[in-house]
Amino acid sequence: MTDQPRTSDSIRFVLNGKPVALAVRPDTTALDVIRNHAGLTGTKEGCAEGDCGACTVLLRRGEGPRQAANACIMTAAQLDGTELTTVEGLKQDGVLTPVQDAMASNGSSQCGFCTPGIVMALTGLLEKAADPEEEAIHDALAGNLCRCTGYRPIVEAAKTAAKAGVAAPSAAGLPEKQTEVSCGGSVLHQPETLDQLTALRAAYPDAVLLAGGTDLGVARADYHSDWDRIISTAQVGELRAIGETADAWTFGAAVTWEEILQAVRADYPSLATLIRRFGSTQIRAMGTVGGNIGTASPIGDGPPALIALGATITLASKAGGARTLPLEDFFLDYRKTELKPDEVIVSVTVPRPKAGEEFRVYKLSKRYDQDISTVCGAFWLATEGGKVTACRLAYGGMAAIPKRAKAMENKLLDRPLDRGSVSEAIEALSEDFSPLSDWRGSAAYRKKTAAALLHRLARDLAGEIVEVMAL
């Protein structure tokens, strides 16, 4: 790494195996870069909100395999120093890949508009998992909508291609990341250390602080806002770190949900299930824990789970240095947080499970996969001698912020978790929450089901099958 700033007016990346330098505003969407600037039209715009997957591409950032990602809500800023593969780049020496072969011969495409994205999503899966289970195929397809086929022939194509064997092509050498790219009145900063990041944040408190861009990118893709200055967190070493001790995980703010999923799988299977329903494979590849917390959505799924787990958050600024607080104290009001204009989120620390503790998180939504929670209930209990000695119940979708249900918690303490204590806790629900009605559910439904999830918890801990998706 040199000390000289590496700056230019062009985004530099590898596109379908060839190095390119494109002079585009860094806030141009990656999809517009691909279609309008590179002239590759195989990648489609279906929704411009990262939900339908028609724009799926494969992105390699640093070490590791190519990952499926949504080009529509990604920006050119996120392409600098990466390897990008579009559907046009799949063929090897003019030969279709096994995924393409299987998709073409299985009746897997009808109108064909979703097809390139699905080919990319399945390629991303099979390059990482040679022989995926059916559930893993559904996980890989959770971010891809098809309106024609009913999916069966697509899932079968994945199995056929897996049998044929999918080999990941050797990685291209990545161009060096630039520290600054400036084009058309939009400036991208890519700091590499926390000090650089906090200095930039102090200098430009109004700049867009860009992590995975899975939320900010939606407004950009709808052309609702221009980003004249962007500070990317993706290269900051401290924010990319994962720390593991016997007692806790520490996830840097720019760690992706896919990375967290792999880390916590064994410790917290219920959290892993939630994360798998968190956006999609494409979203998890880009979306970060810091972004998920920083955007402070009342219906974000990360915060209720992390609050229930007793997570803490560390913030830092150039002037004030670092400070750490319980995550539950970070959220102040609707989209308002403790984060000061010159501050950034550094990391989140999550305690690891101990004997006698239980954790469950349940998400309710209209669709199981890739949906936003109507209600998300996260429950952590410590028990001793059959009695609850400590607990944290946190909900999303029930208030302007993700929030603990302290009145409910009090009803559970120092007693066994049984029908009686659960019923009393539910009585206390309205002390904690008065939710809103919207398109995801009415206030009445939210209250009923927030209560119901506590019943579910008791039955779950008693060993019952409590979810239709487990059937």
């Binding site: 279906g46 909100e49 009808q110 109108c111 064909g112 195929i137 999916y151 069966r152 398109w439």
Partner: protein, 778 residues
Amino acid sequence: MNVDVKSVQRAVVGHGIAHDSAAKQIAGEASYIDDIAELPGTLHAALVISPVAHGKLKGIDPSKALAMPGVAAFVAAGDIPGHNDVGPILPNEPLFAETVVEYVGHPVGAVAATTYEQAVKAARAVALDIEELEPVLDVEAAHAAGSYVMPPQILIEGDVDAALASAERIIEGRLDIGGQDHFYLETHIGYAIPGEDGDMIVHSSTQHPTEVQHHVAHVLGGLANSVDVFTRRMGGGFGGKESQATIIAASAALLARKTGKPVKLRLKRSADMTATGKRHDMVATWKAGVDANGRIRGLEIEYLARAGNTPDLTGPVITRTLTHSDNSYFIPAARFTGHACKTNTVSNTAFRGFGGPQGIIGIEAVIDQIARELRLDSNAVRAVNYYGPETGEVTPYGQAVETHQNRLIEVTDALLASSEWERRRAEIDAHNATDPLLRRGLAMMPVKFGISFNLTSLNQAGALVHVYQDGSVHLNHGGTEMGQGLFMKVAQVVAEVFQIDIDQVKITATTTGKVPNTSATAASTGSDLNGMAAYNAATAIRGRMAKVAADHFDVPAEEIVFREGRVHADNRSVSFGELAKMTWAARVQLSEAGYYATPKIHWDPKTLKGRPFFYYTYGAAVAEVAIDTLTGESRCLRADLLQDCGASLNPAIDLGQIEGAFVQGMGWLTCEELWWDDKGRLRTVGPSTYKIPGSRDVPREFNVALLENAPNGEETVFRSKAVGEPPLMLAVAVWLAIRDAVASCGAPGLSPQLKAPATPENILDAVDDIRARSGKLQ
């Protein structure tokens, strides 16, 4: 037409050949309109739409938009040189609002700019001066206020009042039936290229190129012959691009006329879902008179359909609702009424099934309610009401369900057996008797669906077939390809007639210049109509070629046989290509414009009587679900489908249509919910809020079959049957199975109140409701 009625092994037809574009689609090489290389100077456009549901449009100020960099033009109603009208059936449906805006999303103009991003931003910068008026936002309010877009349609058979008065039991009920967004993956798009003499070429993502041609000409004030419309493929249509594409194409053409430059208008997903129509949501109420066996003696159903702000296709949609409110059941006395309610919401339009699904879920709700309230087996109630395969009853609209073509019993009996109904019914009842948290439900239902456009005049088609001197074939017809595999099916028909390899037939883009005056590719009729027109064209050419061959071999023409790419006379033969060259040399025409008009059909739109349908398709479904009685979540665990496709032209494509339609129907009835706020703003305008089924929502066990050895009794193309729409309605079985699971939470004799779609919230409400009513009974 001389074809064997029995199933026969054919060379090309009946084989599961892959979709013609599959190899291009998986490589990203299939070109959709937004992928066409743009001509120099191409401008990009965006619609300017009303932000309010109802108001006086007092002024439009585009000056801020026009001052933005790269913005080239703005057009509104006053800029239209021809007629400001794109009504598909009835006149007075303006392209752009003039004095009143009538829904959130109502187009008032369009902007063109050098980039798409700039056009979208400029459209938002156009200032609209609107004086807000009170909107009418739901059908019941509209009905109460007498607000309709057209008079009601009433289908009457027999004396329903007498039948109800003398019935042993009266069953009354109500069902709220949700609408549905098409959510084709490719949003609406049109690309208009101005030419000389005021001509306009329009690439349109439309199911109805002829209508786009007519409306573009009409809006521009020119003749139809000045507009050529091209449609190679759509990224999905489902009815959403039947009438609505004209708005996009005409706006682009208007801007192209004004600027003299090519103009492309593509709707952002949110604009598409806001500004263009959907499946009609309806409220159905009924009163049925039944005997002790659940046999319907008289039935009155009233539908309040959300037309939205204009008629669009609401008239024929309601007609199909009324003509499918019998589904598979003989109703001797009927009064079916459909009101086209005018609301300040987007004008609803065609959607796969075209009103049929609302009629079928309506009658299925009636049947289910009868069975539950009379404590009868629901399949037994269905069976006593079936159109008899031996009795040949007549539908309320006057069409006989002819005995030799009636496959209801054949289909339902086969499906009940293959789905192991008896065993599973007993298991599920036993499971539910243990009062589990997760309850199961099981249901079977049939679908009888009428094939043909109700309006007789639409049932015609043309095709253009050329044979070139090398024996290759150029095929064009009026049907459009939206993913359903129509182009391959019609190509198979032509290859079969000539007995040549399918690769010898070139599939070409639909265009109004080659085959004129076409009907929409809709009503499941695409292959019936266009396949037969192409069959007629190819057969005429083959007849002329056979004469040339007969002269060449000096045998009678009847002895000439086309087989495996060659043309045979006893043991001598020439290749098809050689014969083509000989035919040209003999100065015999190798090109033909084929034509087809569906026989036997007639319809009186005033009395709603006639024989609107050439034939019926039959299908049935058994669905098993689980519901969570704490949260209302549901999952379809297994579905078994059996569909009558006649002698299928392409079983692989038909299978894809059945599976895809079923899953789309499941979406309509489970997770897809359109949600308007109290200002009339649709708040579910993208996939983040409007949830169509994903891959994990497909039934865990999914058994789908085509009815075998079942050639169409009518003379359709190679005795096939239509497939596009009917299987969508098989998903009503999923909704009925959810009802069954809900019913298990209540006392016997109670019928669930379950709205469609059966979202988790609606299921939980139904569970709580039936439990409360059971408590009151105890």
